[in-house]
Symmetry: C2
């Protein structure tokens, strides 16, 4: 059974996509800690980040950085935090979380309830910055 994320990559499950390349995809976390909380994944299904082959691992962190810069520009925040936990969906992923304080980076916090329109507007705002910074990588 493919992971939930592979099903998103393949278009079998919906997602609010913000950036895509041949090897990587970024989309909004559907249970966000803060508005703009995004997941960056390799399309290849590998469970543990430490097990990614080196070029794919390096490329994922570079992709995540480009998406993080767009989030930083699009969403009012102090910093974009990076987190890899590895105990949720068994498909390596980096959480990119716009934060205003240490307290925002707590996976036990209640999750935001956003409407589809709010998710779409958030994805569009990040995409707009990505298009500005990296025209080839924004999801259309």
């Amino acid at each position: 059974m493919p992971s939930v994320f592979t099903q998103i990559v393949e278009g079998k499950l919906p997602a609010y996509r913000v950036a895509e390349t041949e090897e990587y995809l970024a989309f909004l976390d559907i249970r966000p800690l803060t508005r703009g909380h995004t997941l960056a994944i390799p399309k290849k299904e590998v469970d543990y980040l430490l097990d990614l082959e080196e070029p794919l691992y390096v490329g994922l962190w570079l992709f995540a950085r480009e998406v993080a810069r767009a989030i930083q520009a699009a969403i009012p925040c102090e910093r974009v935090a990076f987190a890899v936990v590895g105990l949720e969906v068994p498909h390596a992923h980096i959480h990119l979380i716009p934060i205003r304080s240490m307290a925002d980076l707590n996976f036990q916090n209640p999750r935001l309830q956003l409407s589809p329109e709010e998710f779409q507007a958030t994805a569009a705002a990040i995409q707009a910055k990505l298009r500005e910074f990296h025209p080839q990588k924004a999801s259309s």
Copy 2:
């Protein structure tokens, strides 16, 4: 005023070092969330991870991976989580935190109180795995 981490790099402040290269240093967090909680930093003092120049950014994630693999082998845990928060010491750093559950990755949790002997034993255990995997990078 150099950052606390620069003072550690320069040997002006003590630390339980676990790994070192020309450009990077890893040492135990003195206020650990779990035993084995380690910080990986570039020796160059740059505040925000997103501002590191690309080769230094990529190298830091590769260095962090080697240290994380050693932590995973040395410390009983499910996964080694990665976190970059960016609101503490203004010198970019990656938290490497051996976790057993999502609840372990919460910067508001009370910190462990370890004795110097416990810190030394933890650093030595991680160093031993690093020496096994990457003989040139373990701190002596």
